[in-house]
């Protein structure tokens, strides 16, 4: 996969977004003219600063934009041949596209176990048992807390439930909005480990929005960078890792150097991104 | 000319509830008003003018009554009003009507405050609840000497008027009230009240509800298998109530100043109505049709007496100076120089479930 120079070389991308333009409240343009594709079996990461429009794009993919008065004005989104712009969320999920939403969105009044059960809503009872087993092994902490009300969990525990809940659906395409948010380093490692494993074993495709660029780039085959509603840079992960801008602004290396710079030495000036000029 | 008058038309207005449960009252009333008008129009109108009616629905909500009256007077510019909805609504409308000076009839929900002191342009046709209740109580006291009485009243001015009547009757007769209670309007379940009635061994029960409440009270008595003499007041004296109660309604005592439909005069009225009303309207006839008819007829008689010189002043003058007006459904109606209340006599009557009607009791 990673030999490919661009994603579009693929014959039939699994997920394909073409020239998407997304508008909130009929007035706020959050995504403009974004094209992006994810090939089956690959891991694609989407990076970008706050407010770039990443989450917005994911909402469009799962058909939940309208809940916030958002609208896919132009462009198209296809997943495994299905036109997502015209599909209902539940149908999209049935097709195997599952999202771990930003902000976890747990069912706060339900227990951990009930939340996981909801994740496997489309699965049979026996599959449910098996999947629960899997998730509990991945996150032993959740097993301890299985009958605790989800709303009272710590932030990180909630994130585990959110990721676990999505895995319960055994997705073909797993879409994650900042899965590592608020997690301890150990758990982040474990989550990435699992994603890598699932992709290997189940040929699961992963589309990932992340702020933790180092981890994401290690895992991903292909990386897109989004700023101000546009894709400003994309390329295979190895190539991106050597891009100087990416190194400075996403990986935290001091400009040109190989050393990570210390947060203590941040200069007091406004940076400008080269790719924006 | 005065407002509401053209060369060819005289415009009258009324406000009544046409929606919701009180619609039972308003719709029937309107049918009566229309009947009176149709009768006059069929006879060639008044001095060549046809009479027309504008109706406003207030849904029994006071603020809407007031709005409607303002609209009738200010926008539709009617010549006179034939009704101002129920008791509270009419009371609240008094200041506007008084200020406007428009001739207005009060055929529903009569209270002394509406004619004492008399308001020049407001004419109250019928009888007050208080006096009706007094008569009813006196009758029951006479026929049930030594009885234990139970009284269930609504917690509003209607209930208060009945309580006053009862109190007045107590001055003239031996009335031993052993149980008395008030309920909040709209109550449907009278189980606890009736249990107390039962516990108090009541012989005579005043059911002071309007429609649904009386149905509830009588049905509950049936359930508890107690058989006091139950007396109900005229607002609910309509066949539908008897039908809704079922056989237990047989023997219910009522009181009214209009004649029962089953009486000769009542039948004559129905026959008359059939000549003028549509097929849909005839089944809606009840006592409110009679009161609406009677008061409108009185008004139209006065208007007629003015002939071409039709003004408010003239109409009011004729209202007070006309000889008693024969309406066929109640005692002749007359007013006087400073009398704005017809003070119509009442009859006591008894319900018959089979014919769903009331007939006057023979003493």
């Amino acid at each position: 996969m990673s030999q490919l120079s661009t994603q579009s070389d693929l014959v039939a991308p699994f997920l394909e977004i073409k020239n998407a333009q997304i508008i909130y409240d009929n007035a706020i343009e959050a995504v403009r003219d974004v094209s992006l594709s994810v090939a089956e079996g690959t891991v694609v990461a989407l990076l970008g600063s706050n407010g770039a429009g990443k989450s917005t794009l994911l909402k469009a993919v799962t058909g939940t934009l309208h809940l916030e008065d958002g609208d896919l004005e132009k462009g198209s989104i296809h997943f495994a041949g299905r036109d997502l712009a015209r599909s209902k969320t539940d149908a999209i999920v049935r097709d195997g596209l599952v999202l771990v939403p930003e902000g976890r969105k747990l069912f706060a009044n339900m227990t951990v176990e009930e939340n996981l059960t909801m994740g496997a809503h489309l699965k049979s009872a026996s599959e449910l048992r098996r999947l629960k087993q899997t998730v509990f092994e991945l996150f032993p902490k959740l097993k301890e807390r299985r009958s605790q009300t989800a709303g009272y969990l710590s932030g990180g525990e909630q994130q585990m439930v959110a990721v676990g809940r999505a895995l319960m659906a055994e997705p073909r395409l797993l879409v994650l909005d900042e899965p590592s948010l608020g997690l301890a380093p150990l758990i982040i490692d474990a989550i990435y480990e699992t994603i890598a494993l699932m992709r290997r074993e189940l040929n699961m495709t992963v589309f990932l929005v992340e702020q933790n660029a180092t981890q994401a780039m290690n895992l991903a085959d292909y990386v897109y960078i989004m700023e101000n509603g546009r894709i400003v840079l994309d390329g295979p992960a190895e190539k991106m890792r050597t891009n100087l801008d990416v190194q400075e602004y996403y990986l935290g290396f001091s400009s040109g150097g190989e050393e990570r710079k210390s947060f203590r030495d941040i200069k007091h000036y406004k940076r400008r991104k080269r790719w924006l000029s | 000319a005065e407002q509401g008058i053209t060369d060819t038309e005289i415009l009258l207005g009324d406000v009544a509830p046409f929606t919701g449960p009180p619609g039972l009252l308003g719709i029937a009333h309107n049918v009566g008003v229309k009947l009176a008008i149709a009768e006059v129009n069929a006879a060639g109108g008044i001095a060549g003018r046809q009479v027309k009616l504008v109706s406003e629905d207030d849904g029994y909500v006071t603020s809407r009554t007031i709005q409607s009256i303002r609209k009738l007077i200010g926008v539709d510019k009617v010549f006179a009003l034939t009704a101002m909805s129920g008791t509270g609504q009419a009371m609240a409308s008094m200041p506007i009507v008084k200020q406007a000076g428009i001739p207005a009839m009060v055929p529903i929900g009569q209270l002394p405050a509406m004619y004492e002191p008399p308001i020049n342009n407001v004419f109250v046709v019928g009888q007050t609840y208080t006096e009706g209740m007094r008569q009813l109580a006196l009758y029951l006291a006479k026929t049930h000497p030594g009885a234990k009485w139970g009284v269930i009243l609504q917690d509003d001015d209607y209930g208060k008027a009945l309580a006053d009547g009862l109190e007045q009757a107590q001055a003239d007769a031996e009335i031993n009230i052993v149980f008395e209670t008030k309920y909040a309007r709209g109550q449907k379940d009278f189980a606890s009240e009736m249990l107390r009635v039962k516990a108090a061994n009541v012989d005579v029960l005043i059911a002071g509800g309007i429609i649904s409440e009386n149905i509830g009270i009588v049905k509950e008595a049936e359930k508890l298998s107690i058989t006091p003499t139950i007396a109900a007041f005229w607002p609910g004296r309509v066949p539908e109530v008897l039908k809704a109660i079922g056989p237990a309604s047989d023997g219910l005592i009522g009181v009214d100043y209009v004649t029962p439909i089953q009486s000769e005069a009542g039948q004559a009225f129905v026959e008359l109505a059939k000549n003028y009303l549509s097929e849909e309207e005839v089944p809606r006839i009840n006592r409110y049709t009679m009161t609406g008819y009677a008061s409108t007829k009185v008004l139209l008689t006065a208007i007629k007496a003015c002939e071409t010189d039709l003004t408010w002043a003239c109409t009011i003058e004729k209202m007070q100076s006309n000889p008693p007006v024969e309406t066929g459904v109640m005692a002749p109606v007359r007013f006087g120089e400073d009398n704005r209340f017809s003070n119509s006599p009442v009859t006591i009557m008894r319900a018959d479930f089979e014919t769903l009607s009331y007939s006057p009791v023979k003493d």
Partner: protein
Amino acid sequence: MRSGYFKETVAEHINLTDSTLQRIWILIGLIFVVALPFYFGLYGISLITLMAISAIGAMGLNILTGWTGQISLGQTAFMVLGAYAYAISVESWGWPPIIGFALAGIVPAFASVLVGVPSLRLKGLYLAITTLASAFIVNQLVLEFDGLTNGASGIFVNRPTIFGYAFDTDAKLFYLVAFIGLLTVLACLNLRRSRIGRAFIAIRDNDNAARVMGIDLRAYKLYAFMASSFIVGISGALYGIFLSFVTIDGFPLLLAIEALAILIVGGMGSIAGAILGAIFLVGLPEITSAIFGMFGETAKQFLSTGAHEIKGLLYGLVIILFLRLQPHGLMGLWQDAKRAWTLWPLRY
């Protein structure tokens, strides 16, 4: 086309108006209000008076429900209290109307504390019940204390004379109501841009965070109840004067629901929304009548059998359709229009 105005001092940020143009518009609006009675007849004036009274009541409710997020179904309780406070003090005791108005605000404000205290721990729709209960309880109290309130018979209320000026015609009464309405708008606007108003909003949006920010939840919830009831009480007194008669019958529970409807249709939490909503909902029966009137004579013939039901039907339908097309209410519509206007010819 309007564009952003430059502000040079912080004080300018706080001012209610930020340009001459805006002030001119406000002036035009005021002149329009003053001119209204000249265009309307008896009925029209009473309609706009009713709109203004409803708007005042809705603005009061807005403080509690729109800003502080405390849903109330029992605003009629405070209207009743306000109306009786006015009627008793002015008509029964002969006090000057200006004091009557003050009492019409103060009495409900203090009474609302009694409703507020058991409501302190309640949230969302649970709160609806204490307020609903207060409506029933107040009615019962009015009946119980009939020595003071005249029980079910009610009290007649005359048009007030304030500082020797008699508001005795319908048009004059409208000016009085409009003036009080204007004061209410100003008070609400000021409140909204003060620490108090922000505390209300904070409680609505996230009461726990509000507490950590130093807002005393109990105190502020009670303030909201009081401020709201004060205004609602005054609207009750005005309503009593408008009806010339104060009874509990004049204040059916329906009014409370209607007040909530005004806020929702207008746009929750917005003062302009409360006003627009009042105009819309009070005027709606007129609109439906007008629609019905278009069908002419045959429709009128239908009158005694079904017209009124059909009007009710239309009323409900209009509300539903409106919310379906514009779930954020009239203010949402207004904002869309404004945005379209400033952005024109672009869409965003």
